[in-house]
Symmetry: C2
């Protein structure tokens, strides 16, 4: 099973693929998110894995836009803790490290580490996993990289320091996408977890409209676990809402709530129903 | 008036300072967002400017967290269109450019440009404005940078190509922060704009709770222009909500709505009231 993701081999998205589908899924890297979607539509891959929100950086609106532009199904979700490790080629000791390569976002998430080790210079690179690939190929004698444990494993680097990130509460949530009509999957350990349904709808003229729309859920005692508004481009006072609720889309109560919501909203699309992570 | 911001001189945050306070405000660059807040608390600066959301990348949760940890007032907002320009030292023509330096996020937002010009290599740098500073200092004969027009102006670079970004709908919204109790400001051109109030509240057990909380606004015909939920760390089923409504915090109707919301929420804080951008 070939799975598209954005980034280099060893990226956190590949960790998400592992968590979602196990080690037999074959990761297929693409440079851009829209290429990931295009690959799935062209059936070059059988699924795609996509970051959708991060605890520090918020929702990836670009990917919500792509979810709406294409007609795929979310069949599972997972959450990856973003752990940054200092990785060097075997033979390079921590004491010899003078330069550390990584993506600037990763470098910026390890500032306490760099303050404690002032001899070490930060060097920017286009990708976290790519920086490990580079140091393993070029083998500079005084350089290391910051990336995931998976990147160290894939490129044969040694982890010199683990968990050097400033904030341990850094998680990214990923969706597994499959062609429309695909059945939900149960990633390992999630088989007993409650169901979640993700949907997008639009309304004019909130809060009257949002309040009424939410009544379709609240008056049926359905639990909301995410809501986010987003202004519609070029349409002042019209909004998209991303919403996750607890429940499976074919539960009778959820069915009724969705029918009711459809009456109240200008537009409604169910993006998928899946076991919560 | 000294204004703290995160980044290098010439960053988009400095453009926001210009839009908010005009050319006489003196920008004071800091490396991290928490340093920006600390500088304002220590009165090293009289205000701070902070990105809070982007149309492609969503809300900057890290900055919402800092808004809650500190006790400052949002006194104005502005929106900056993220325009990427190809900038080189005077004398370097477009035909000679072989390498382009910038932050990877900026490089990734100009992929169509790089596809059209395959001779040009992408080089990552820690910051967009910093990449202009670097090429103006080192003067490589075949290199350019991608950054704002302001960065070109500050460091004396020449713009070889304007607006090379893939997506023109890339805007970042910024807040102006001042000590608690500061009065709202009217940035140029915003004096007649409607008032907005930003608040944060928490509830247990949505949607019952969210639905009821929104009734405090909806039943008073107050317009919501943003809502976003965020799970509270370590407290399953409790949520923070970021909410922007149209209206000034001392309007009698808004006052009543806030009083009512306070009854319904576990926690409520008004972050500021200001003219919408």
């Amino acid at each position: 099973m070939k799975i598209a993701f954005q980034g280099e081999l060893g990226a956190f998205s590949q960790q998400a693929i592992l968590q979602l589908l196990g080690p037999r899924a074959e990761p297929a890297p693409y440079q851009r998110f829209d290429e990931v979607f295009a690959a799935l539509r062209a059936e070059k891959v059988s699924a795609a894995v996509l970051p959708i929100e991060n605890t520090l950086h918020g929702s990836v609106h670009e990917n919500y836009d792509l979810l709406l532009r294409y007609d795929f199904e979310i069949t599972a979700e997972t959450s990856v803790r973003i752990v940054h490790n200092l990785i060097a080629p075997p033979g390079v000791s921590f004491e010899r490290v003078r330069k550390v390569y990584s993506h600037p976002v990763a470098l910026n998430q390890c500032l306490d580490f760099f303050r404690r080790h002032k001899r070490i210079e930060r060097m920017t690179f286009y990708d976290t996993a790519g920086s490990v690939k580079m140091i393993m190929k070029d083998r500079p004698a005084d350089a290391a990289a910051i990336a995931s444990e998976l990147a160290a494993k894939i490129y044969g680097g040694r982890i010199l320091r683990r968990e050097i990130e400033d904030d341990r509460q850094n998680f990214t949530r990923f969706f597994l996408l499959e062609p429309a009509g695909s059945k939900p999957r149960s990633p390992r350990g999630a088989a007993q977890n409650p169901w979640k349904t993700s949907l997008v709808f639009s309304t004019k003229n909130i809060p009257g409209a949002l309040f009424r729309a939410l009544s379709a859920l609240a008056l049926r005692d359905l639990n909301l676990v995410k809501i986010e508004s987003r202004p519609l481009r070029g349409k002042p006072w019209e909004y998209l809402f991303y919403l996750d609720l607890l429940g499976r889309s074919n539960d009778p109560v959820v069915q009724k709530a969705l029918g009711h919501l459809e009456e109240l909203a200008d537009f409604l699309r169910v993006l998928g129903t899946y076991r919560s992570a």
